[in-house]
Amino acid sequence: MSGNWEILGETGLRFFGKMSASISHEIKNVMAIINENAGLLEDFTVMAEKGMPIDPQRLKTRAAMIMKQIRRGDEIIRGMNRFAHSVDEPLQQVDLSDTLSLVVALSSRFAFMRGVTLELEPPSTQVPIITNPFFLQNLIWLCLDFAMGSTGAGKAVVLKAEKTERGAKIQFSKLQDLGRREAESFPGERETALLQALKAGLVIRKELGEMHLTFPAQAER
């Protein structure tokens, strides 16, 4: 796999750091909620020790809240584990729709902070390609980041992965402000280096408010 390693290395590290920081923040939030609910359970036991009656429903609610956060934490850690393993092999067979949903999950906090909704359309079939999974995630994130800034008043990005004749593509749509952002240099040098490394293509159709990322069925080794 050829490429500008200086740019790819720096971009990749930045991406890894950004996602890791966001994941750790999410985990902290989960822990904070568990901490407060565990604290409440402790408060209830202190009350009981003083002879005050406890409503079982209050205990049930708190236990349910803790279980909800444990499920949330488990989801976050599962995503983090998949993300960390994406650097294991330079070329792997991946399901593009699956990778897209992972990047969307990793980006959900950034979208929330910007008040943007990410709508992921389910694929009709699996979308297998052979590529570098980490570069692929990095490129999807950079395009998604640009897309989130191009939604205009709609404040939503619709994403869809699908098979094509020569491989696969990801479509970003509902980008009402693509025209306004035309003057900005996108794709920049980071996106260009990733597109080259993955032998991928990027088409911006501002009249439709869409961006298409295309991938070959198999990237070169």
């Binding site: 904070a32 408060d43 902070m113």
Partner: protein, 142 residues
Amino acid sequence: MSEKVLLVDDEQDFLDAMATRMKDRGMDVSTTTSAAEALKKVEEGAYDAVVLDLMMPEMDGLEVLKAMKEKRPELQIILLTGYATVQKGVEAMKFGAMDFIEKPADLKALTEKIHQASSQKMVLVEKKIQEKIKRMIQEKGW
């Protein structure tokens, strides 16, 4: 007298549990998940302390802090965050935060800070009143 506290965080489940515990400790607690609503509440009510999450949608926590301090300079704001960095802490103090606490917070420590905030606010308000009286006396020539 119970402290009047405003809790601001984007996680509703966190607010619910934290507010319940604080109310059980005799505090008068209001909550909101929105930065804009928090600013409105600060304008409308006299809080002894605001516990504010640094990472808020719509507006950055430091921006919210700055806007609150502009509206009510005497307001005591304790920042709560999932990731405490020295740089953020220094910035927060520069903008007038009373303290900076990392999540998950220890409620005992937070409660102490709220008591402290309440006393500090009282001192500031009393000082303001004294200055006002002094100015009136000077103006009237009493």
